[in-house]
């Protein structure tokens, strides 16, 4: 054995697809650009400020954690950045910087790292932060800037908020097309359903999300609100309104489909999507909060391990008996 250099020993397979965690994370982040562009169109520079600040905060905090606790954590693998951008899309564009900081802290520390870092978290970090902020600062989190208003001082409620507080009359004038485009008050990611769909379709083509969760989620919301609307149109808003307002599209396409916190098996995904939709409708129609997407997703996040365990995919060569 007189090789100058040694042969490499490794386990098969000796080849890989070029996909990587980084690539997935950055692609998902990039697919949010259309929605951000629409948000910029309606809210102006404050959008950029919010997104940049939360991204810097989340990546910075993750980097600090990596420095202090575990140098195996790669703060720049894109997951922290994605959390930051998604968090920004869940907040009003006029949020003060310290709120963004607290949000980022909660998202990275409470939402992710205390569970053991990337891949170990049970709940979607961005949603954990959003709910934390919503509970802690209810006033700041429910006064949204009006689209087109140049001053941050002009604030109002989201269409869903109006529906909750003022009843069905308040939304009667609203045009569904306008809502779909995003011309309404709300967080960055709530407003333009169509732009979000665009990004979602891109991700679907790239196979980074699957159809089960979004379809079941949105479908359940549509069907359930439709049933209520048909039963009593004077009390409940029509399903199209529910589809395009609030964080439903953002939640269904980006939050619920988050790889880490969604089930792996086919049946699990179906149940997960249905559960998200079901709880969203229940909270929207009968809860005290106007919007229920984040709570619904967090609730379903908690049962993901159970779904994976009790609804596994069919194995090869296993015949169901009885």
């Amino acid at each position: 054995m007189e090789n100058k250099h040694l042969l490499i020993l490794d386990s098969s397979p000796h080849g890989r697809l070029t996909d990587s965690t980084k690539k997935i994370m950055y692609t998902v982040t990039l697919s949010l650009i259309p929605a951000l562009a629409v948000a910029y169109w309606f809210f102006g520079w404050s959008v950029i400020r919010t997104v940049v600040l939360t991204s810097i905060f989340t990546v910075g905090i993750e980097w600090l954690i990596a420095k202090v606790f575990d140098d195996k954590i790669d703060a720049f693998d894109g997951s922290a950045l994605l959390t930051g951008v998604l968090l920004a899309m869940n907040l009003p564009s006029n949020s003060p910087w310290w709120m963004l900081f607290i949000g980022a802290l909660v998202a990275v520390v409470l939402g992710k790292q205390v569970f053991g870092g990337l891949g170990q978290n049970i709940f979607n970090p961005a949603l954990v932060a959003r709910v934390f902020l919503l509970i802690s600062f209810p006033v700041a989190m429910t006064s949204w800037p009006k689209p087109g208003a140049l001053s941050d001082a002009v604030t109002g409620a989201t269409p869903l908020g109006m529906l909750k507080t003022e009843g069905i009359g308040a939304i009667a004038k609203m045009d569904v097309m306008n809502l779909a485009m995003g011309n309404m008050g709300g967080s960055l990611g709530e407003i333009s359903a169509l732009a979000l769909l665009l990004g979602g379709i891109y991700l679907f083509i790239k196979k980074y999300i699957t159809w089960e969760i979004p379809v079941l989620f949105i479908g359940t919301v549509f069907v359930m609100t439709g049933i209520f609307w048909l039963a009593d149109p004077a009390k409940f808003a029509n399903p199209a309104f529910h589809l395009f307002t609030g964080g439903l599209i953002l939640g269904a396409l980006y939050m619920a489909t988050d790889m880490v916190t969604s089930p792996l098996s086919f049946k699990g995904k179906l149940i997960f999507g249905f559960g998200c939709g079901f709880f969203t409708v229940i909270i929207r129609l009968f809860g005290s909060y106007p919007e229920g997407v984040s709570f619904a997703i967090l609730l379903m996040n908690a049962v993901v391990p159970l779904l994976d365990r009790y609804f596994p995919d069919k194995k090869f060569g296993v015949v169901k008996n009885g």
Binding site: M1, H5, L6, L7, I8, L9, D10, S11
Partner: protein
């Protein structure tokens, strides 16, 4: 007055009924448990490592009391602890010799060469699924630390790509013995520090070619030993620790330094002096 008396009576009556129930229940469902078992468990180290072969200290104690013997000793307990238990039970305290784990290899980077560049999972068993050896000597320690992972007492570490065992910390629980895919760890009495640090059963020339400190089966140690404690089989020396008196003559005479005094001086080959 009646206001206090009535609840008192009701509660008292209720207490009487329940306590009667409890009394009969305790008679009916009485389980006899030897109180000595608990005492023995208290005296054991409580590591629950299962090294004795039972499912934890409780099971060990139950067995010991049941059979009234300490034939299977607790390998983790010190001699004093075992003595205490034997005193308490009034039986002999087994063999009572502390054993430690010992590596039959000295294939450090300096003594033998790696033959490949390994990129897989850091685990000896994972390595054996890819290839049988990673050093020129096919019997050598792989140095990927499966035994280190399995050791509950932090007594092992990898240095120079072989395992170093801290005899102070080693309790002789034998967990590492089964964790080694090359089977080059063995147990020896703690005091008997003279060991053959080789496991190569190839003939002398091949062994020497593979590793500088391999046992080449030259029989010098067997000849020099006055206690008939060392024998060469399959080109490999083996020490009978029942007979070894630690005279270290074999250590001095070994031409390849394949016999070492563990924890003592590092020996220089006799020829080189």
């Amino acid at each position: 007055m009646f206001e206090i008396l009535l609840p008192g009576l009701i509660l008292g009556g209720f207490a009487l009924i329940s306590s009667t129930g409890l009394f009969f229940a305790s008679k009916k469902f009485y389980v006899e448990e030897d109180p000595r078992i608990e005492k023995v468990v208290d005296m054991l180290p409580g590591a629950n490592c299962g090294a004795c072969g039972f499912a934890g200290c409780q099971a060990y104690a139950e067995n010991a009391i049941h059979k009234m013997s300490l034939e299977t000793t607790c390998p983790v307990a010190t001699e004093e602890e075992m003595f205490q238990i034997s005193e308490f039970m009034g039986v002999d305290s087994g063999s009572g010799i502390k054993m430690v784990s010992s590596l039959m290899c000295n294939g450090t980077d300096a003594n033998t060469q790696h033959i490949a560049e390994y990129h897989g999972i850091e685990d000896c068993w994972a390595y054996t699924l890819i290839a049988d050896a990673n050093k020129a000597c096919a019997f050598a320690c792989l140095g990927l630390g499966s035994c280190v992972t399995v050791c509950p007492f932090d007594a092992m570490k990898i240095e120079n790509s072989i395992v170093i065992i801290d005899e102070e910390k080693c309790t002789g629980c034998t967990l590492c013995i089964d964790s080694c895919p090359k089977y080059i760890l063995h147990m020896r009495p703690a005091g008997k520090t003279v060991t053959v640090t080789c496991f190569n059963t190839d003939n002398g020339a091949m062994a020497k070619k593979a590793c500088n400190v391999a046992c080449i089966g030259c029989m010098k140690c067997e000849k020099v030993c006055e206690d008939d404690a060392i024998h060469v089989n399959d080109f490999l020396a083996k020490i009978d620790y029942d007979k070894c008196t630690l005279c270290e003559k074999c250590v001095d005479v070994c031409p390849t330094d394949a016999i070492q005094v563990m924890g003592g001086r590092v020996h220089v080959a006799a020829e080189n002096v």
